[in-house]
């Protein structure tokens, strides 16, 4: 590992922050310069991020490009970065969205330009940090810090009643994550004996692993077999479900799963185009990512018990979100609810615990980031021109904005998962995984799997129904409104902003394998770890234990050395 590789992730994460400092020095009046600098920052970050993605070797160790130094070693904290396949993919998605978000807001944001771009850069850093941090507390810090810039984006640059939406978004997400913090600290204390305690992902997971295996072993046994457990296993048996619930709630709100999704439509509707893009593109994935990385591996047994319930919620989310879309009059709300539906697929794929399902879910995360991000982006352009979100105010736009229409329709097809677009791969794999899964068995009757699958597949119909309905209302028919008759088509900048999305839609639809290859190793590991929870699981410890680089040698910091006993000290003679 060269120096560059060692610090690659640091670079990717903190580069936006460095540029933020640069932007801070620029005079607030220089809008152009500020935009340019931010854009360059995002581009450079994209370059590094892509490089990191390339450097990630699917066949290699689980976590790569690791970087680890001491940080509050009294509490067993360490500043520890590293990416696995999923994190790398989401990291790529994040850095990919960065420059486009800046481009998209060029004319959209007209006041407090400097602050806006500062918020964007800080947000980028926090999101990337949350993705790559391997120290759970570090993750939590980034995870929470993310809220602040996003809160500002919605609350300052949002639409008419932005305040309400921002506060709702903030509190909603905070509730869950505070519970998670409590659970986190609990895990910190139980996972390892005093002195050996650490917030590091590996030590936390490995600390819980044996107890989890005992627990799953005894769940296979006769009822009440688990009451004879001792030590950590007993603790997990009693409190594991609650800890899992705390984690799950935090991430479920972030995803969002039904029924804690109601912050999403408001936040999306009120947020500026950049906010919507990032929210849909990356932030929602933090929830699924959290389930994948923390909630389920830490408490496989509890997760196993909650699986049917959560899978049901996911399926409800798919159908319910789609039905909601049919009831909307507001385009942004519709897109937001479609996110609920799509994220339902991601969650279902995760809970299916099959290679197809989990990989498809991860892929669906990327797809959703691209297609929904692009939808928000495109609608942002329309909103800039017309300043209304109601479908009724549009109609026949295709006549005056042909290029825009083409782009929108392509993205729509990607969103309704027409084969050949990226959406299809993810959705197909998730559904296939669901059908192959043992969800039904976990729910009591193997055949229930079919029910899960069938209801999830309903989303395929409804998805087409609502998206095309919206497309027709907005683009087709006669130009009834006078305001719409002189709309201008997309200009060069806007085309350049949309083009990457469209290219990716095609590329990820026709050549998904390079992406899947990077996801797959972490999929298999995730499934193995989740399988620890299945009653009577026979998972080898070596197979699932998390291996990370150790801490560097003791640093020579000015830490107080222990006081020597009096007697040991040389006695100064009072007088010669």
């Amino acid at each position: 590992m060269s120096f560059f590789d060692t610090h690659l992730l640091n670079l990717v994460v903190f580069l936006p922050l460095v540029f933020a400092a640069l932007v801070l020095m620029l005079p607030a009046g220089e809008a152009g310069q500020i935009r340019a600098v931010t854009f360059i920052a995002m581009l450079v970050d994209l370059a590094f991020g892509a490089w990191a993605y390339m450097r990630f070797e699917p066949g290699g160790p689980e976590f790569q490009l690791e970087y680890r130094v001491h940080w509050f070693k009294e509490f067993g904290l360490s500043y520890h970065l590293g990416v696995d396949g999923l994190a790398a993919s989401l990291l790529l998605l994040t850095v990919f969205l960065g420059p486009l978000v800046v481009l998209a807001s060029t004319t959209y944001i007209s006041h407090r330009i400097k602050e806006f771009h500062l918020a964007l850069l800080v947000l980028q850093t926090t999101m990337l940090g949350a993705l790559v941090s391997l120290d759970v507390l570090l993750f939590y810090i980034f995870f929470e810090a993310m809220l602040i810039p996003m809160y500002l984006l919605v609350g300052v640059w949002g639409a008419e009643d932005r305040q309400m939406a921002a506060v709702k978004f903030f509190l909603y997400t905070l509730v869950g994550s505070l519970l998670m913090l409590v659970a986190l600290i609990a895990v910190y204390f139980i996972s390892s004996p005093a002195g050996a305690r650490s917030f590091d992902y590996s030590s936390m997971y490995n600390g819980l692993l044996d107890a989890n295996r005992q627990l799953s072993a005894c769940t296979a046994g006769p009822p009440g077999a688990c009451d004879s457990l001792t030590g950590l296993a007993a603790t997990l048996h009693t409190y594991g479900p609650w800890l899992f619930a705390a984690f799950a709630l935090a991430f479920a709100i972030k995803v969002p799963m039904w029924p804690v999704h109601t912050w999403l439509p408001d936040a999306h509707v009120q947020a500026p185009v950049a906010g919507s893009m990032i929210l849909a593109g990356v932030m929602l994935k933090m929830g699924t990512f959290g389930f994948w990385r923390y909630a389920i591996p830490f408490f496989p047994v509890a997760a196993q018990n909650a699986r049917p319930f959560l899978a049901t919620l996911a399926v409800i989310g798919i159908v319910y979100g789609a039905l909601m879309c049919l009831a909307q009059r507001d385009i942004k709300k519709l897109i937001a609810y479609s996110s609920v539906s799509h994220l339902g697929y991601c969650m279902l794929g995760i809970f299916a615990l099959t290679a197809e399902g989990a990989t498809g879910s991860a892929y669906q995360m990327l797809n959703h980031g691209i297609s929904t991000g692009a939808l928000f982006l495109l609608f942002g352009f329309l909103y800039e021109r017309r300043h209304t979100r109601l479908m009724a105010d549009f109609g026949g736009i295709a006549k005056v904005m042909p290029v825009f229409t083409v782009a929108f329709v392509i993205i729509t097809f990607s969103s309704v998962a027409v084969p050949g677009t990226n959406g299809f791969i993810g959705e197909f794999l998730v559904l296939l995984g669901t059908f192959k899964s043992d969800l039904g068995a976990a729910a009591g009757n193997p055949h229930l799997t079919m029910v899960f699958g069938a209801f999830a597949t309903l989303g395929v119909i409804l998805g087409a129904a609502y998206m095309l309905w919206m497309v027709q209302k907005v683009f087709f028919g006669g130009l009834t409104h006078r305001e719409n008759q002189h709309l201008t088509d997309m200009n060069l900048r806007e085309m350049l902003t949309v083009l990457p999305f469209i290219i990716l839609v095609g590329v990820m639809g026709l050549m998904p394998q390079p992406f899947l290859d990077r996801i797959e190793p972490s999929t298999s590991r995730f499934i193995a770890r989740a399988r620890v929870g299945t009653p009577g699981a026979t998972v080898e410890t070596e197979q699932v234990r998390v291996e990370v680089m150790g801490l560097p040698a003791q640093p020579t910091a000015a830490a107080p050395s222990a006081p020597a006993p009096l007697a040991a000290r040389a006695v100064p003679s009072p007088r010669p």
Binding site: L323, G396, A398, V418, G420, L429, L432, I461, A465
Partner: protein, 743 residues
């Protein structure tokens, strides 16, 4: 060298051609790209050139590929176009076929999908139809769309459609086929809504896509069931099963690893391994041991999958209960109706079942359902067609009806006849549609046949071709339609499904009724349009004949719909016993070989391979003629005679019902669409807005605020009060600690 030798020496050797099969798809795709992106700047002539040459090129390649499928070495007379079936033993060859695998599309876990293309006689035939008819229709369109300013969009879509359709046909596995399956749906969505400024047309496009999506929903589930089935099969099968299918376990699993789970060849092998009486570990009645399908039998799951495929096919091929989109699809330009909604896309269902014939014949129940659905659809559509006055609507319903006939054939196991009818139908129905288009073109886009008439003298070419095509579809000797339809009816009549013997006769007599109806309404359309006097309400005083780009395809198609009758003639000798065999059956026998093997072992269907006797021909002919004659009598003598007199009430009632398509659309609107919309609205208002958001979320906030304002009064601001509290706390803490220590 004689004809057969000429046909058996391909200009391009199969092994040379196979790797470039992708070009067949790529050419139209490229054309679509060029027309779509640069069309506007290229100008009309260039766009026409690009579009037509793209499809023309695809046609040439298809001919070469088709030719190559029967390429034989002139000396050793040994067939060159075959390849080893990866799922079979080393010497299990797939004959009369060439295939090429372009590597992984996506592979996860033990599931894999490859870009694998295959041309055998079945897909080869469809290749020719698609590209050939497609080319003619492109040519036709160059003139038909000459006044439309967004012609480039049109040709882009059309090329896109051709590409998708070719993918559907060339795919060697279910998922890749699904790409084409949805692709054609997408293209037809775009083309139906081509004149999007008219909300009704855009709405029709959406209706088509969503209805198709319902089918795709079933298709997907069926695909997943297939995956599960293959998994269970590989778990439970023993060597005996594999040897029955002329394969071996390691070969089979290796092929699954390498080629993917849902390859047609693999599914065929599985089908060959599991019929009853084979005596292997896996039979139709064997319950599945583990997994989500635990406890169900292989046969049961197969039936379920096939029924789901039927629903999918019903969506694409406009069968009950999903046929409603097709008549509305006539909103698109007429050539589109000819290509997509008559010749190619709507026949995808028939192709699917022929492709999976080996699986279908495992389940008599599914076959019976297919046949009955086909018959009912066909009859319903024919009845509706009686009362339609829009020429395109009539043709649309007749398409639905003809597709129903094909489904009857598929369902009763006469796959070859169904495919033959598919081909002939493509010819004469395309001819009819294009003729209708030419009529509209020449009469100011008038589509109401009541307002046409007497065109015979003004549009000679159109009239002639339309006349021929009408005869063909009506089923008049010696045109193609007669033979293909009769081949189906004959097979339907003489094949018998295991345990469901009543089906064949029921379907057969329904078929005869349908034939009569078809003759009736087609004759009606023809007479009202071309014969008699020109109507008073005609838009133009005099119609004008169309340009050669439009008439040439008409002529070609008319000729084809005559000569393609040859395929149904029993000129060949059956490979086994020397009995006479229709050309097309003989020609498709390699495709349906495994199907026949399964039937031989499984006895699920009693296939009858006799050829129709002269008596059958005469009978069928009489049926058709009687229908036509009745129509002729009514519309030439009866109605003109009593013009002006009101028709009796019951007649008007019947007519109105038929005209309103038996209110099926209204029924769906009432039974499905409204409830769903209503439910979504209620859910949004009640659950989302009220329960979750207001009660749960805002409720929490409200409670918090109340509690806060209640606790405010504790904050008196008196420092000593706070101190007192602290003191109490200290006291409590210390006391507690003391107690703890003392105990």
């Amino acid at each position: 060298m004689n004809l057969s030798q000429f046909l058996q020496t391909a200009p391009v050797a199969p092994d040379v051609l196979a790797p470039s099969l992708w070009l067949i798809i790529a050419l139209p795709l490229l054309g679509a790209f060029i027309c779509g992106v640069f069309g506007k700047m290229l100008g009309r002539a260039n766009v026409n050139l690009v579009a037509c040459s793209a499809v023309g090129g695809a046609f040439v390649l298809s001919v070469l590929a088709f030719w190559a499928t029967s390429d034989t070495d002139p000396e050793s007379r040994r067939l060159l176009s075959f390849f080893v079936n990866p799922f079979g033993t080393e010497r299990d060859y797939v004959r009369y076929a060439l295939a090429h695998d372009y590597g992984t599309w996506f592979a996860v876990g033990d599931f894999r999908v490859n870009f694998g293309l295959m041309v055998d006689h079945l897909s080869g035939t469809l290749l020719l139809v698609i590209t050939g008819v497609g080319f003619l229709i492109h040519l036709y369109s160059t003139s038909y769309m000459e006044h439309d300013e967004s012609y480039w969009r049109y040709f882009a879509y059309l090329n896109l459609f051709v590409a998708a359709m070719l993918t559907l046909v060339l795919a060697d596995n279910l998922v890749l086929l699904f790409v084409g399956w949805e692709g054609v749906g997408m293209a037809s969505y775009l083309l139906i809504g081509f004149w999007y400024t008219d909300p009704a047309k855009a709405w029709a496009g959406r209706k088509a896509f969503v209805t198709n999506r319902i089918g795709d929903f079933a298709f997907l589930i069926a695909t997943f069931l297939m995956v599960l089935l293959v998994g269970a099969f590989t778990e439970q099968a023993n060597e005996r099963d594999y040897t029955m299918a002329n394969s071996s376990s390691q070969r089979y699993s290796a092929a699954l690893q390498e080629k993917g789970t849902v390859t047609f060849l693999g599914l065929q092998k599985m089908a060959e391994a599991i019929p009853e009486g084979g005596g292997g570990a896996v039979m139709l009645s064997t319950p599945i041991a583990a997994g989500p399908l635990e406890g169900y039998t292989f046969g049961g799951v197969m039936t379920a999958a096939m029924l789901l495929f039927l629903l999918g096919a019903a969506g694409k091929s406009a069968q009950l209960p999903l046929y409603v989109w097709l008549p509305d699809a006539m909103a698109g330009p007429t050539p589109v109706s000819a290509l997509i909604h008559a010749a190619t896309m709507v026949t995808a269902g028939v192709y699917l079942f022929s492709r999976m014939s080996a699986l279908l014949v495992l389940s008599p129940t599914a076959m019976a359902t297919v046949a009955i659905i086909g018959a009912l659809t066909s009859l319903l559509a024919a009845l509706i067609a009686f009362a339609q006055d829009d020429i395109k609507k009539v043709l649309a319903y007749s398409t639905v009806s003809q597709l129903g006939i094909m489904f009857m054939g598929v369902g009763m196991g006469v796959f070859w006849a169904a495919v033959l009818h598919l081909v002939t139908h493509a010819f004469f129905k395309a001819c009819l549609f294009l003729g209708a288009g030419s009529v509209m073109h020449g009469n100011g886009d008038e589509t109401d046949i009541k307002k046409l008439g007497g065109l015979r003298h003004e549009m000679k070419w159109t009239w002639g071709t339309f006349f021929v095509a009408t005869l063909a579809i009506t089923g008049i000797i010696p045109l193609s339609g007669f033979f293909s339809k009769d081949a189906i009816f004959h097979g339907v009549h003489h094949n018998h499904l295991e345990g469901l013997h009543w089906v064949s006769s029921v379907v057969y007599y329904l078929g005869l009724l349908i034939a009569a109806c078809t003759a009736f309404y087609m004759t009606r359309v023809y007479l009202l349009t071309f014969e008699g006097q020109r109507s008073k309400e005609a838009k133009l005083a005099h119609a004008h004949e169309s340009a050669w780009q439009m008439t040439l395809p008409l002529v070609v198609l008319a000729v084809l719909s005559v000569v393609s009758a040859v395929y149904a003639w029993p000129l060949m000798k059956a490979p086994g016993d020397g009995r006479p065999q229709p050309v097309f059956e003989n020609f498709l026998s390699p495709v349906f070989a495994s199907m026949n093997r399964i039937v031989a072992t499984g006895k699920t269907v009693a296939l009858d391979t006799s050829v129709p006797a002269m008596g059958d021909y005469v009978f069928a002919w009489l049926v058709a003629v009687s229908g036509g004659a009745l129509a002729g009598f009514l519309y030439l003598r009866f109605f003109p005679a009593r013009a002006g007199q009101p028709a009796p009430a019951f007649a008007r009632a019947v007519r109105r019902t038929a005209q309103n398509k038996f209110y099926v659309d209204e029924l769906y609107e009432l039974a499905i669409i409204r409830p769903v919309k209503f439910m979504s609205f209620i859910l949004f208002r009640v659950v989302d807005a009220l329960l979750i958001d207001t009660v749960a979320v805002r409720g929490t906030a409200w409670v918090t605020a109340r509690v806060g304002s209640a606790l405010r009064y504790v904050q008196s601001g008196d420092a000593q009060a706070y101190a007192a509290v602290m003191a109490l706390a200290l006291l409590g803490g210390v006391a507690y600690a003391l107690i703890q220590v003392l105990q």
